[in-house]
């Protein structure tokens, strides 16, 4: 397989990783384009005994951090905006949907998100993820663990449905705690 074939094959995974980092498809595609250009220019420095996938992901990650370090998207949920969006009564749906997962993912720190995505979604080993992230294997394990815990917290029962299945009681509680959006959701 030529370098060109290798690079085309890895584009879908690069895009998925870039989207998880940038949180926006347009920015992610720009990042992938820059990564591909850089990788192409540096192809002579790629050593055959190293993992091509890890090499490409490292370039993308470095590119991302060199551009976006200053404007990192560590979004706090201080105003409860996420909680409000998630305030839907359990009668309505029986599962956490993918859109909510995407939203919750955006609330993780960059380090936690990238570790979780590389290990859990991309299926890399902790060692490979550590190589890409430039940190110790133990650090990656810890970040993945914290990211999972945080996601569970974000998607967990911190909404009106905490207070039981009684929709009347839930609507009263939602009215007091979450405001009108939650009230609408629980009264449906």
């Amino acid at each position: 397989m030529s370098f060109c074939d290798d690079i085309v094959e890895i584009i879908p995974s690069l895009r998925a990783f870039a989207i998880s980092l940038c949180g926006s498809r347009d920015k992610a595609d720009d990042l992938v384009q820059e990564t591909l250009t850089k990788a192409w220019a540096k192809q002579d420095s790629f050593q055959q005994d190293t993992h091509f996938r890890a090499w490409m992901f490292t370039i993308l990650r470095n590119q991302y951090y060199s551009q976006h370090r200053k404007s990192r998207r560590e979004v706090a949920d201080n105003d409860g905006a996420l909680s409000e969006r998630l305030a839907v009564h359990p009668e309505q749906q029986g599962f956490v949907d993918l859109a909510e997962m995407s939203e919750a993912l955006k609330l993780l720190s960059d380090e936690q998100r990238e570790a979780l995505v590389l290990v859990t979604a991309e299926g890399l080993s902790y060692e490979e993820a550590a190589e890409i992230c430039g940190c110790a294997v133990g650090t990656v394990k810890s970040r993945v663990n914290r990211a999972r815990t945080r996601l569970i917290e974000l998607l967990d029962v911190s909404t009106a449905s905490d207070y039981g299945p009684d929709s009347h009681v839930a609507s009263i509680v939602a009215n007091d705690i979450f405001g009108s959006n939650a009230r609408r959701a629980t009264c449906r």
């Binding site: 060109c4 895009r15 998880s20 749906q93 029986g94 569970i152 029962v157 449905s161």
Partner: protein
């Protein structure tokens, strides 16, 4: 009583029990969905352009050597 409350708290707002495995599965679904998308044309065009540029520079390098 506390134990019951804690157990309930481990369930998502939608009634689904959230576990690390469940989180991983959902994340995997999102990721797989993006990976399965067709490669945008801009990337194919970029690779073609880079390949063409490389060939051109390789050819001009060879021509330069022949002239020498």
């Amino acid at each position: 009583m506390d134990a019951v409350v804690q157990k309930d708290k481990k369930r998502s707002k939608r009634g689904e029990k959230l576990t690390p495995q469940c989180i991983g599965k959902k994340l995997g679904q999102i990721y797989a969905k993006i990976v399965a998308e067709p490669i945008p044309d801009r990337f194919i065009q970029l690779i073609e352009r880079l390949e063409a540029e490389e060939k051109r520079s390789h050819c001009s390098e060879l021509n330069g050597r022949q002239h020498e």
